[in-house]
Structure formats: C-alpha cells, structure tokens
C-alpha cells in the first residue's frame, strides 16, 4: 500500500500518534491538528531505529471487521469467565495447549498473542525460539483441540490475511 520512504517511514504510526495527541487534548482545533501532525511526523523519524520493519496492511478494510469481532468476543467470553470464577472450584479445568503458528513476522505473532490474551479464558504464556508454536493457557477448557482450532480459524486466519504473510 505504502512505499517506505525516508520522508515518512511509518505512515500508520504517524496517524496513530496524531490521533492520540488529539484525544489527549480532547480537541480537534486547527492548532492541535497542526501540532499533532508535527508530532506524528517527528516522533517516527527520531525513533526509527526501534521500528525495524514498517507495518504494512494488505487489507485495511479487514482490520475494522477483525477489531469488531475481537471486541465482541471479549464481551461474550467475559461472561463465561465470570461464570467460571464464581462457580465451584472443582469445575475448573485449566490446561496448557500448543497452538502451531502459521504466521511468522514479529508483528503478526505479537498481534495474535495479544488477541489471545485479551479474549477471556486464554493467556499466551510463551512462544518458542523458532516461532513454531504459542504456549497458551486456558482457564477452563474440556476440549483443547477445539480451542486450538478456534484460535486458528477465528484469529490467525484474518491476521494472516490482513498482513499478507
């Protein structure tokens, strides 16, 4: 989508910084827009060595749908976790599962791991050095295989599509 230029090395980051600045000041006045744009321009330039590879969205339209799905899952699964927490202790079936990874780039793996951790009932505990699988802890799961399948189809597949990897 974007070619990497030295002028604006991380367009998405710049946009995000500007948005955060506007939110922080709770205003979209022209002055703040200008200042936000300046910060969005300067900060990525000064911190570029911390961002080895630019994030490229192959399918930007999918991002919103994916974010909506994740938010919905967070809400729904929170009630499930609340039930487990308030229910009898004997009914809890915690388990570690390994989720084989199809995505490889750092950023995509990070997003996947974070999404898994954010949706209640599962926490990403570790990733192996070769990035072949994620170690995921499930709070209460009777069918570990189903959890792995769900993670792969519901989260990993869209991430793969979004980042085209």
């Amino acid at each position: 989508m974007f070619r990497r230029s030295s002028w604006l090395p991380h367009p998405l980051l710049s946009l995000l910084l500007m948005l955060v600045w506007l939110l922080l000041n709770n205003s979209a006045a022209p002055g703040h827009l200008l200042l936000g744009a300046l910060l969005g321009f300067l900060i990525p330039r000064f911190t570029r060595r911390f961002w080895p590879e630019p994030v490229v969205l192959a399918r930007p339209a999918l991002v919103l749908r994916f974010a909506g799905r994740v938010l919905w899952d967070i809400v729904v699964a929170n009630f499930a976790v609340a039930k487990v927490v308030l229910g009898p202790s004997a009914a809890i079936r915690p388990v570690f599962v390994r989720v084989p990874l199809d995505v490889q780039p750092d950023f995509a793996v990070t997003v996947l791991a974070s999404v898994i951790s954010l949706t209640p009932g599962s926490v990403t505990a570790d990733v192996d050095a070769e990035r072949r699988f994620l170690l995921v802890h499930a709070l209460s799961e009777d069918d570990p295989e189903a959890l792995v399948r769900q993670i792969k189809t519901r989260y990993e597949a869209p991430i793969k599509e979004i980042f085209a990897c």
Partner: protein, 108 residues
Amino acid sequence: MIMVLLDLLTAFLLLLGAGFVLVGSIGLVRLPDIFTRLHGPTKATTLGVGSILLGSVLYFSARQGLSLHEVLVSLFLFLTAPVSAHLIARAALQRRQGKTPFTEESED
C-alpha cells in the same frame, strides 16, 4: 428524554464495569494457581475498566460536549494488559520448575 436514556446507559455501563472489576478480583483471590489467577486481572479487569471509562465518556459527553479522552486510558490498558500477562506468565513458568503444578501440561 434522550438525557434520561443516556443516563440509564451510563448507569448500566458503570455498574457492569464495576461488576467485572469485582469478578476479576474475586478470581484473583479464589482461583487455585498462578496461571489461572492471571485470567482474572487481564480480562475481567480490562473490560471492567473499559466499560467504566465508556460510562464516563457518555456522562461527560452528555453534559459538557463531546469528550473522548477517557478512551485513551482504555486504549492503553488494552495494549498493555496482554504484555503484562505474558511477562508474568513467563516469570511464573520459569519459577515453577520443580514444583507440582495445579495445571497440567496437555502434552510432553
């Protein structure tokens, strides 16, 4: 009329959020081992605080004009919660060696 509806929604969000915060903390106290305890704070609390903040956004937007800056706190929490959880889980995995865990590995 619309004000009453907004206030009702605000009240609902605040109570829901506080409820989830409480559930997360109960989980922290009740759940049996370190890995299960991780689930309470990282989720219930994140959503709980998220909906409290949303309630606050609604409350102030209804009274003092559009005010979105509380969203920033939610955004920050949603970004950082998985990172904290991940690091604590790794620390716990590393420390657990030799102890008999409540949670059993599914393989190996």
